[in-house]
């Protein structure tokens, strides 16, 4: 199997890449930090990957997406799964008062994903098979006070995926929206952890399984589906008063 992973050095992506490596897949990794990419490539080869290639790109350079993805898929010799994992967790208080900051975050977490999907879709349509999997977030389910800029960017992607899933159905291409809850990774190092926190490995296992099964919208771990159901049905006149 040939797997393309974008934002490959994030903790969840790394854990997913390791599972695919154990399954002897071929991988192409895209991320911003070349050194980390190189380290991950050797790690995956030791773990059993058939072949690993990589390319360095700052994903906020939208104009370069098309060319880079083309070259990546060529190097991989085709693509069965494209997994989009990159993202950044902004400081809500800073992005609330600076549009420039907010724009940057929405670009990273929202628009760059749309750009990548737009570039990837034709390849998948043409080959009439494959899976596009995107990591969004439970934060996109409802705009909450502590992270609504991040949440808005993620819900932009989730809504886009809902439409894209229908569009690609006729072409036998599957679209998975993975919504992790709280993940104990270097990105969330500054937060105190509690019982709801999951490890990147747990989330990665769920990702790989849901891609294999052809699931649609996946919460990882599963209990977030129940939690977010409750969060969504809280009436606005109460919800607006909640600080969580």
């Amino acid at each position: 199997m040939k797997v393309l992973i974008i934002g490959a050095t994030s903790a969840i992506a790394k854990a997913a890449a390791r599972i695919y490596a154990q399954q002897n897949c071929s991988l192409h990794l895209i991320a911003r930090n070349g050194e980390q990419l190189e380290a991950l490539s050797s790690d995956l080869l030791v773990r059993g990957a058939q072949a690993v290639s990589s390319s360095v790109l700052d994903l906020n350079k939208f104009a370069e997406h098309g060319k880079l993805l083309g070259a990546a898929i060529e190097e991989l010799g085709g693509v069965d799964i494209a997994l989009i994992c990159h993202g950044s967790l902004p400081d809500q208080e800073k992005v609330e008062i600076s549009f420039k900051q907010a724009q940057k975050e929405i670009n990273t977490n929202g628009l760059s994903v749309i750009s990548l999907l737009t570039e990837l879709a034709p390849t998948f349509i043409e080959q009439h098979s494959g899976t596009l999997a995107v990591i969004t977030s439970v934060a996109g389910d409802r705009g909450r006070q502590p992270n609504f800029v991040y949440g808005a960017a993620k819900s932009l992607v989730s809504t886009y995926l809902q439409g894209l899933r229908g569009k690609l159905l006729a072409h036998n291409v599957h679209v998975v929206d993975i919504r992790p809850g709280l993940v104990d990774s270097p990105m969330t190092a500054q937060f105190p952890k509690g019982p709801l926190w999951a490890s990147p490995e747990q989330v990665a296992q769920k990702i790989v399984k849901s891609i294999q099964r052809g699931s649609h919208t996946v919460y990882a771990p599963g209990y977030w589906r129940a939690i977010m159901f409750v969060v969504r049905i809280i009436p606005d006149f109460i919800f607006k008063r909640l600080k969580f």
Partner: protein, 441 residues
């Protein structure tokens, strides 16, 4: 957060820092004030307070493989890689770890810092004897590479050095080729301690050798035991020869009330186990996971000792006097009305050159006790027996030994301090244990 070792005693407040890679770890150490002390923490499998300090540097994200050379049988990896992950990668290639402790859930960094041993110590030595190189982040933030030829003094201080010379970030290990992932096990029943010693001596050339002991048997059957011998099984030219046996484990979800573990329940367990083993077939073929890591099948088994935790007590006594010394220890325990749930006896081979490594030629006995106030005076008495027989205690399991006992039994502690003074003059790397033992202040 509240941090604790595998024995769940003692507990201490600590900040846990988990660097994303070796570079961030280096930056963190370099940026800290001279007064702030920290210690590395791998998988949290040392029992006592050796990985407790105000600041803990977790190696969870240093879990990358860097290179595997299948011809030279060497593996280079991050300090946070667990031994189980190495087996998963190496077994299908016909390679195995030359030394395995009783759990696969320990990190490479931790295994080096404690210089862990396995059931084959009498033949193959301890873990660090198969480590060819380590990369260490010193208190200054500088990264140094150490091996038997490069910075050899620092290498011998860091192997078994309980993380006190710096933070291990990477290591190169020598792997051993094996014919299959199975072990041919032979068990020998001994009706008392003397018989058990005789069995061990008679089978000194066996690759793996460890005895389970009924700690609660007294009188003529004191030290009745079952000796387990193991050899790597030959390949049967089947697909499963090199299989990695991942077994799902059952978790203990919370601390069980500690009164469940009392003398009667322990005695019942030990008696039942002994009688079952006594009549069982004497040879069997087990997969390596079953043979090496039976306890891993019950994850969080440490919770069975209740919320106050437990203490492991492992000591080694030189061969002459070992039989008499261990008999005294067992009698003392039984006289005080205490008992150990799992008791393990093994013969060690020669000591290595590492300054603070535990193993030395002789017999080692491992006992575990529920944590209760009346236990501590008993352990102090046992310390005295150990000292009288020129023995010592294992630092990775210790939570309460006194400075005097430590310094009397680890003759190289001054040489260790001299090297520590060179690389870490302000004692930036210090644990609750090192403070207690007078290695740091």
């Amino acid at each position: 957060m509240e941090a604790m070792g595998w024995g769940r005693y003692p507990k201490a407040k600590a900040d846990l820092i988990e660097p994303a890679d070796a570079q961030s770890l280096q930056k963190f150490v370099a940026s800290q004030k001279k007064s702030a002390s920290c210690i590395s923490r791998g998988a949290g499998r040392s029992y006592g307070d050796s990985a407790l300090a105000g600041q803990l540097i977790g190696s969870r994200f240093l879990d990358s493989f860097l290179a595997l050379d299948e011809q030279q049988h060497t593996l280079r990896c991050g300090a946070g890689v667990k031994l189980g992950d190495i087996l998963k990668v190496c077994l299908p290639r016909g390679l195995f770890l030359p030394v395995l402790p009783g759990t696969k859930e320990v990190s490479v960094g931790g295994a080096i810092a404690a210089d862990v041993h396995g059931k084959n110590h009498h033949r193959d030595g301890s873990f660090c004897q198969h480590v060819t190189q380590i990369s260490l982040v010193l208190a200054s933030g500088e990264v140094v590479s150490c091996s038997a030829t490069q910075n050899p003094e620092l290498f011998r201080a860091s192997c078994g050095g309980m993380g006190l010379t710096g933070a291990i970030v990477e290591a190169t290990l020598k792997l051993a080729p094996v014919p299959s992932s199975y072990i041919d096990q032979r068990s020998l029943v001994a009706n008392n301690l003397q018989e058990c010693f005789a069995h061990i001596e008679d089978n000194a050339d066996s690759k793996y050798s460890v005895a389970w002991l009924d700690c609660l048997a007294t009188g003529d059957s004191l030290g009745r035991s079952v000796l387990y011998l193991g050899e790597h099984s030959v390949a049967k030219n089947r697909k499963s020869d090199r299989k990695y046996h991942a077994r799902s484990s059952i978790g203990v979800p919370f601390s069980t009330p500690s009164f469940l573990l009392n003398k009667s329940s322990m005695s019942l367990f030990n008696m039942t186990y002994y009688s079952l083993q006594k009549n069982k077939s004497r040879t069997s073929r087990l997969d390596y996971d079953n043979y090496f890591f039976p306890l891993d099948r019950l994850s969080n088994w440490n919770r069975l000792y209740g919320s106050k935790g437990f203490l492991q007590y492992q000591f080694v006594l030189p061969c002459e006097g070992a039989l008499e010394g261990i008999t005294t220890v067992l009698e003392k325990i039984s006289k005080q009305g205490k008992g150990s749930f799992l008791t393990v006896l093994k013969k060690f081979g020669e000591a290595n050159e590492n300054l603070l490594s535990f193993p030395k030629s002789g017999y080692t006995l491992t006992l575990d006790f529920k944590n209760e106030a009346s236990l501590f005076p008993l352990l102090d008495e046992l310390d005295q027996i150990v000292l009288d027989h020129d023995g010592r205690l294992y630092l990775a399991k210790d939570a309460r030994m006194s400075e005097a006992v430590f310094k009397a039994s680890y003759p190289n502690w001054e040489a260790f301090m001299a090297i520590k003074a060179k690389v870490d003059p302000h004692n930036r790397f210090a644990s609750l244990q090192s403070n207690r033992l007078g290695l740091t202040t």
